[in-house]
């Protein structure tokens, strides 16, 4: 089953953030809670964790691109 990796809610003032870099590659196994990527704003850089264990099936937003809050950044196949 496919699980989306979502850009988290960042409060009511920030609507998008830039992907800083992926820490995993497509095809790699990830554990639930493992850090998958960093996203960054001019104020803070944060890590996004895998919502479930599985295989990173797709990266939909590459490094240096912007993504909106709630956007699907990648897919994990559990």
């Amino acid at each position: 089953m496919d699980h989306p990796i979502l850009m988290p809610q960042l409060g009511n003032e920030i609507e998008e953030a830039q992907i800083d870099g992926w820490l995993k590659s497509v095809g790699e196994h990830v554990e639930a809670g493992e850090q998958l990527l960093t996203v960054t704003t001019p104020k803070l850089t944060l890590e996004i964790e895998a919502p479930v264990a599985g295989t990173l099936k797709a990266i939909l937003v590459e490094a240096d691109e912007l993504a909106a809050v709630g956007a699907t950044l990648g897919i994990i196949e559990a």
Binding site: E13, T38, K43, T45, L46, E47, E49
Partner: protein
């Protein structure tokens, strides 16, 4: 009691959530957007109504306050004007010290304290860090200083470095931060008094500290005297709420909902 020379109110930003207020107070050199790793989890958990603000001398706020008591008075006036009573105050570093003084001077406004690496309860905020941050000019220098905050360099992205330098370049922000640094250095007695007063009280309190904090190292004896719940976050530096966001969010929620 001193009186703030030009009484004003800080701008409170509401992030949603319902119930008793939870007010997040950032650290030195940061602003209300320092809580981006926490706002989603805290709001969605339904633990309360979440608010952020910029401390005087930070973000969009100027600085007229000259002491921790005056900083706490401005925060108290802001909360009272918004009719936020029974607040849980989550304070990081400098914000933790302001939260402590607020709890000691205006206990009617505070129902619980969450203190993350608070100034006044550790071994002292690194004076070189406080002196250096307002003077930063070169990106490499800013990046190196910010790296001291965290255990993993990847948590300091390039936009964060340029964002800080752009902020410092505006108006009299460097001068304001120098004056905040002076309050941190010279008004430690106010925070010590507040720590002693809160320690004697029944106020529910949670202290969170990164085990690898290099900016304000934890002081085991002071923490024991202070009492309350203590969470030492392994492998985290001075920003455990960012470095171990899930653990810290869950710890805060567990404490506030209990």
């Amino acid at each position: 009691m001193s009186t703030t020379p030009a009484r004003r109110l800080l701008r409170l930003v509401a992030h949603g959530g319902a119930g008793q207020p939870i007010v997040l107070v950032h650290g030195f050199g940061a602003d209300r957007l320092a809580w981006l790793a926490n706002l989603g989890a805290l709001t969605e958990a339904g633990a309360g109504a979440i608010f952020t603000l910029d401390l005087p001398g930070h973000g969009q706020e100027t600085l007229v306050e000259r002491s921790f008591v005056e900083l706490a008075e401005t925060l108290a006036a802001t909360l009272a004007a918004a009719e936020l009573r029974g607040c849980a105050i989550v304070g990081h570093s400098l914000g933790g010290a302001v939260a402590l003084v607020l709890a000691a001077t205006r206990p009617d406004l505070v129902r619980a304290l969450v203190l993350i690496a608070p100034a006044g309860l550790g071994q002292g905020v690194d004076s070189e860090f406080l002196a250096h941050l307002p003077e930063l000019a070169a990106p490499e220098e800013a990046e190196a200083l910010l790296h001291r905050l965290v255990s993993r360099p990847r948590l300091i992205g390039k936009p964060m470095v340029t964002g800080l330098l752009r902020h410092l370049a505006g108006g009299d922000r460097r001068a304001a931060l120098r004056r905040v640094a002076a309050i941190l250095a010279e008004d430690q007695a106010s925070v010590r008094d507040a720590v002693a007063q809160v320690a004697r009280s029944a106020l529910p309190r949670l202290v969170i500290w990164g085990a690898a904090d290099r900016i304000n190292r934890p002081d085991a004896a002071a923490l024991q005297d202070f009492g309350g719940q203590l969470e030492i976050v392994p492998d985290a530096g001075h920003l455990p709420q960012v470095e171990s966001a899930t653990l810290v969010n869950n710890t805060i929620l567990g404490f506030l909902v209990a």
